[in-house]
Each structure stands twice: as structure tokens, then as C-alpha cells.
Amino acid sequence: MIDFSLCGLRRALDAGDIGSVELTQACLDRIEERNSELNAFLTVCGETALDEARRADAGRAGGGPLAGIPIAHKDIFCTRGVRTTAGSRILDNFVPPYDATVVERLAQAGALLIGKTNMDEFAMGSSNETSYAGPVRNPWNLSRSPGGSSGGSAAAVAAGLVPAATGTDTGGSVRQPAALCGLTGFRPSYGRVSRYGMIAFASSLDQAGSITRTAEDAAMLLDSMAGHDPRDSTSAERDGEDYSGPLQGLKGKALKGVRVGIVKEFMDEGLEARCRQVFLDNMETLRGLGAVVTEVSLPRLPLSVPVYYVVAPAECSSNLSRFDGVRFGLREAGADSLDELYTRTRRAGFGEEVRRRILVGGWVLSKGYFDAYYLQAQRVRRLLAADFTKAFETVDLLAGPTAPAPAFGIGEKIDDPIQMYLNDVYTIGASLAGIPAISIPAGTVDGLPVGLQLMGRPFAETDVLRAAHAYQLETDWHRLWPPGASAPVGEA
């Protein structure tokens, strides 16, 4: 029996139980069968993926750790020669002339690009409803959102269209969709993975991550993705590490002595009662693994969402000024002046939520409001980051839910931006502090998956991945498939 995870497929390919062509074709068939209802893929690269699979089967593709395995990239990563839209009309015709570092490194490790996944426009959203290409549906219940902004990646992995996908996490865009789709979503420390070629939304927050079935798979991807990149001036001057190695051979009381702090501020009335119970049960599981679980307070954490909704729009208004109809992307016809060309193009190219954020960002950066809003938010950000630093003096990991409730309905929150923003209340803190955080499948409520979030010290990815892997050795939540779904190969 083949386990449809990256690690399982690696073993199966190496043992000759399956070939890359057979695997890739199975994924393409599944995409063909399911994508019209899920809307998870914006572009499918069937022919080139099969060509690469043939090369892998013939042993001509090198022996990288991901050799012969198809993966998907969120449509925010530039892929040379393959359309990259960021879910926006303004980039509907954009074919990048270069690869993002993440794309390049995963290709060097042997991964085959099978397609590009749907996302909230420029990653601005928590439900995948702001995409120009329309909403993605949650494989667990098609009337529900898969979360966002990496919702296409999450839906694709959850439905077994592909074993793993990349995502990006600015305020929770990898962790929240992973939680809502029953998957493992990992956001490494800010600076751990290069942002080169990743279309920028909020540059002090954006970080590439992964959506996989297991923490082991997240480690396997990070082995290839991480490390300094001279083309990204904010990439940390650190080598990537061996993330998979430290997960090997964990067993028994694997978390003996590890101090886990429950974030007190997360346990307020905003957390759905049954999700709270799932979380408390998760803490018992961690105790059973030997962890010492206590409660810690991050007093400024309730301000994380307002801080984020000043800092992120400010940075977005600056980053998105590059879309002007001159050098790439959409150009709206009929303008008589350069100014009119900019305005017509941006009016036609950006959707409602992106426009709102550019306006808020432009305003908080403008004369008369800069100090009171933008600088104040950055000051509160530092206090909040200090709360995390202090907490990590007494605990090794912080724990909380990933989202306040299971997947919400498509259309349920989209008309009220503030309710949508508040859905990110548990994920934004780690983003602002720049620390590594993972969401892992931790239970179900009404048949829908619920995630557990674990956060670690800056650059302590291995602590986070080890704890997540230990949890997954002890539990089976990550093995659940949505009703009616199964792996396209192998699993019974």
C-alpha cells in the first residue's frame, strides 16, 4: 500500500512500487475529475509535468529528494513561462520571465510542477473568495470555504489532487486554510525562506510555507526551500538546516520535558466551545507525550489584528504601486494621459478587498496620519513581539487553536471585512513576531477538521516540527480524508 504523502511516495518510487508517470497521470486525472467543482487550480501543466515524469522514470532527472514527485505552487510564486496571476485580473496575462527561488529550489530537488493554485487576490483574504478566478470550495463540504489565502493549495492537497503544495503566509494564509482543510500548514520564521519571485503583499510579514499531509512532509519541503538567498535582501544570513533528520526515530515520550504554554488570550469567548474542547484534548495528548503544559499570557496579543490591519495595508499600498499598466500585466485601453492610464488600469485590475486595503494603507501612510496610525502600529508591534520573547523565557513552544471555528460558509463573512479579519486572530501574532508556526489536524467538529497551532522561537523550526511530528505519531487526524475522497494512488 502506498501512502500518499511526500515521504510515502518517496519510498514507493524508490522501491519501484509506482513510477513517476503513473503517479503524475493519476494526479492529472484527479485534477480533471475534481477541479471544475473545487476551482483549486488556475493553471495545470499536464504536458510538461508528464515530460518531467518520464525523465524521472528514465533516471535522467537526478536523484533529488523530491525526484519524480508532482507538487503545486500557489499562483503567487513566479514560474518561468507559466502564467502567474496572484488571483488578480491585473496579472491575468502575466507570464514571468524567471522562477521564484522557492520554485527553483524545489525543482532542483526534483519536484515536478503540476500546476498553479487559486488564492485570494494578492493573498488578501481569509476565505479564497477575493480571487478574480472565483472562490475555491472546501473538499470537506463544498458549501464551505477552504480558508485563505492559500485556499487553492489547501483544497488541492485535501482532495488528493496533489500530495503537497506551496503557500504563503502573511497573517495566517498557510495555517488557517490547512486547519480548515485538515492538513499540515507550516510557516517558517520570517527570513528563513527567500521571498525572491514571490509577488509581494506585505514585505515585513510575507513568508513562504507549505501545505502538506504531515509534519514530516513539511520538513522534507523545507530541507529544499530554506536558506539564504542573495537575491532577497531580507533573507536571513543563515544556512538551511536538515529539518527531516531530527524527526527520525522519535517514539514513546518524544516530548519529555518540552515546555508548552497555552496562550491565555486565545482562550476567550471568541473560541467556539467545541473547538475549545478539541484544543484541551490536544493538550492532554501533548502531556501524554511528556510535555509540561502550562498557561502563559501575551498581554498585547489582542491588539495583533488591529496592528496587522495597519501594517499590512500600508506595505501593500506601497508594493502594489508597481501595477501601473506599463511594464507588465493588464493595460486598460483608452487613456489619454499617463495618469489616466494608471488610474483606468488599476480601477479595472484590482478587486474590492485589494482596493480597500490600498486605500487604508495609503491613508495611514499619508501626511497627518503617519505617526498616529502607522508608527503607532509599529510600536505596538514591537511590544507584542516582546510579549512573545518574554513567553519564550519560560516555555519552549506556544500552543493555541488555529482558527476560532471550523470552515465557515462561502458568502458568510465576505460582506463584512472586520468579521473576516477577526478570523485571523490566532495566526497574526506569530506573523507579526516573525516566528515559526505550524497548524496540524487535531480533531473534527460537525465532521469538519479543526487545527492545533504550535509556535516556536525565531529560527527554531526544528522544535516546532518535532512536536508536530510527535503529535502525528500519536494521533490519526492527519490520516482522515474528506467524505468520498481518497488518495488517487495506493491508499485503500
Binding site: 496575462n93 520570517y190 515585513s204 531580507t234 488591529p306 488599476r346 480597500r356 508608527l375
Partner: protein, 108 residues
């Protein structure tokens, strides 16, 4: 400092006026249409009201955090690392003539 709350239903910000909306829409080249102004301004007032909670906090003496890594901008060696990529870079441009981007006339 305790009991800070994130407002779920914030008071709309009064200092975001119609004129402010027009000013920022001009700064950001977003081009508003008459029919959308009313709803947009009420949504933006709520969003700005939502973030105004930050102003309750005394941040005297706190250095703004612009970045999680507090980086110093790194310098690289002064060496040529890129070849001429103009043709590649312009292949995705909407209107290029003789290697130049063509835009509407900017000088009368």
C-alpha cells in the same frame, strides 16, 4: 495593560471624511466611481475605527518595529551578476516599441 480587547463592532472613525477618501484615492490612483463612494466610505470608517484601538496604548519610548529581523541592509560585492535581460523583461509588457515602453504622451 490587561483586558485589551479587539473590537468586533467598532465605532466608525470620524476623521476619515469624504475629502480624505478622494485625496487617498488620488494618491493611490484607484479611480473611484460616484456610485461606490457611500458604501466604501462607511466600510473604511469601520476599518479605521477598528484599528484606532491601538491609540489607547502608551508607546512612549518604544522604537517602531519595521521588520522582524531588525536587519541592516546587506551590501554585496560590486560585481556584475546579471546579463542583459531586457528582451525577457519586456516580453510581458503591454506595449513596447524598439525596446522602450510606450505610454500616452506626457509632454504637450
Amino acid at each position: 495593560m490587561n483586558n485589551l480587547q479587539t473590537p468586533g463592532n467598532p465605532k466608525p472613525a470620524e476623521d476619515f471624511s469624504d475629502e480624505e477618501l478622494l485625496r487617498v484615492a488620488q494618491l493611490t490612483r484607484l479611480g473611484l466611481e460616484e456610485g461606490e463612494k457611500e458604501e466604501l466610505i462607511s466600510t473604511l470608517r469601520r476599518i479605521i475605527g477598528f484599528v484606532q484601538v491601538l491609540q489607547q496604548l502608551d508607546t512612549g519610548g518604544v522604537e517602531p518595529m519595521v521588520h522582524p529581523l531588525d536587519l541592516v541592509l546587506p551590501l554585496r560585492a560590486d560585481e556584475v551578476t546579471e546579463t542583459d535581460v531586457r528582451a525577457d523583461a519586456q516580453a510581458c509588457a503591454p506595449d513596447v516599441v524598439d525596446g522602450l515602453y510606450r505610454v500616452p504622451k506626457v509632454i504637450e
